[in-house]
């Protein structure tokens, strides 16, 4: 896939930055995020609470590690899976006719709609490029074995 190291670095900064922002904005107010999760009406109180406590940290660490290049493939895989899950989640929510705040960025939330799916799809595309491209430049953890 892509080999230009600067383009790959830019992708890492963008996707990583989005996830760092998503994580930080939710860590500050876990109860609001738990409320947002509950609004999707897919999981109950306990799972909503656990999601609100742990998911923001997963997002933050994955985003941070993607940028600094610590286990960047793990981060890219995790972020891709999360984005895929978010897209399916929003699609299901729309199909059920529910009108909810997405809960994506804490108080800077927005509606879970088709535009959110479009946005997430863009991040997913960048993240997949990172997952399937050689990632050895600008990385804290240099590895030879993972070259394409």
């Amino acid at each position: 896939m892509l080999k230009n190291r600067y383009v790959l670095l830019a992708f890492r900064l963008i996707v990583g930055g989005v996830f760092i922002w998503a994580g930080v904005s939710k860590i500050a107010d876990p109860l609001s995020f738990a409320h947002n999760v509950r609004n999707y009406q897919l999981v109950g109180q306990t799972l909503s609470f656990l999601t609100a406590i742990f998911l923001p940290w997963v997002e933050l660490i994955a985003g941070l590690w993607l940028i600094v290049g610590l286990y960047p493939k793990s981060s890219a895989l995790l972020i891709s899976c999360l984005l895929f899950f978010f897209i399916v989640l929003v699609a299901i929510t729309m199909a059920r006719g529910l009108n909810v705040d997405c809960g994506c960025f804490g108080t800077f939330s927005r509606r879970a709609d088709i535009w959110l799916i479009a946005e997430d799809s863009l991040w997913l595309a960048l993240s997949l490029v990172l997952l399937f491209s050689p990632a050895n430049d600008f990385c804290l953890l240099k590895r030879e074995s993972i070259k394409a």
């Binding site: 896939m1 860590i27 876990p30 109860l31 609001s32 738990a34 409320h35 509950r38 609004n39 009406q41 109180q45 909503s48 609470f49 609100a52 406590i53 742990f54 998911l55 923001p56 940290w57 997963v58 660490i61 994955a62 590690w65 610590l70 286990y71 493939k73 793990s74 981060s75 895989l77 995790l78 009108n99 997952l131 399937f132 491209s133 050689p134 590895r143 074995s145 993972i146 394409a148």
Partner: protein
């Protein structure tokens, strides 16, 4: 690089495990009080801090019935107008959450003088009453009660219902 080759790389799984473990550690470390309160039984009905909503209460069907028959509070139906018209608790005022969120502030004029408000939605898993309570609280309505059983529970219990009263 194929997905198969990626997934057979041990290093990827090590990284994933580290991210999850670190997230659990940091999650617990960053919110010990909330977790303690959750384990003690809080937040089982709503994710709100008691100290932020000191007057908000959750009421059961029998309590709702008592408040209703004693006319101690105004009932507010947070469902859509169509659902309201099909049937609602007698005397309830329709304030559809979606309409209020879309800027129909005049809906609130009918409850300005209400000393106490009971909010309900469909029941079951519905979240509209909670969301409406948050909005009403932010507009200065403090004496709020939420009837979580909602319309479904009210109807099943055989209590009086009203249809199309507003139209």
């Amino acid at each position: 690089m194929s997905l198969k080759r990626l997934l057979s790389d041990r290093q990827i799984w090590v990284g994933l495990a580290l991210i999850f473990i670190l997230s659990i550690v940091l999650g617990v470390a960053s919110h010990p009080r909330l977790i303690k309160r959750f384990l003690a039984g809080e937040f089982r009905q709503a994710f709100i801090l008691k100290e932020d909503f000191p007057q908000l209460a959750f009421i059961s069907l029998s309590e709702a019935e008592e408040v209703w028959s004693g006319q101690k509070a105004v009932f507010v139906d947070s469902r859509s107008r169509e659902e309201f018209n099909r049937g609602h608790i007698p005397g309830a005022i329709s304030i559809p959450l979606e309409d209020l969120k879309n800027g129909q502030e005049d809906l609130l004029t009918r409850i300005f003088d209400s000393p106490e408000i009971v909010i309900y939605c469909e029941g079951g898993d519905c979240q509209a009453s909670l969301n409406l309570a948050r909005i009403l609280d932010s507009r200065g309505f403090k004496k709020l009660k939420i009837f979580l059983g909602g319309w479904a529970e009210w109807m099943q219990s055989g209590l009086p219902v009203e249809t199309n009263a507003e139209e």
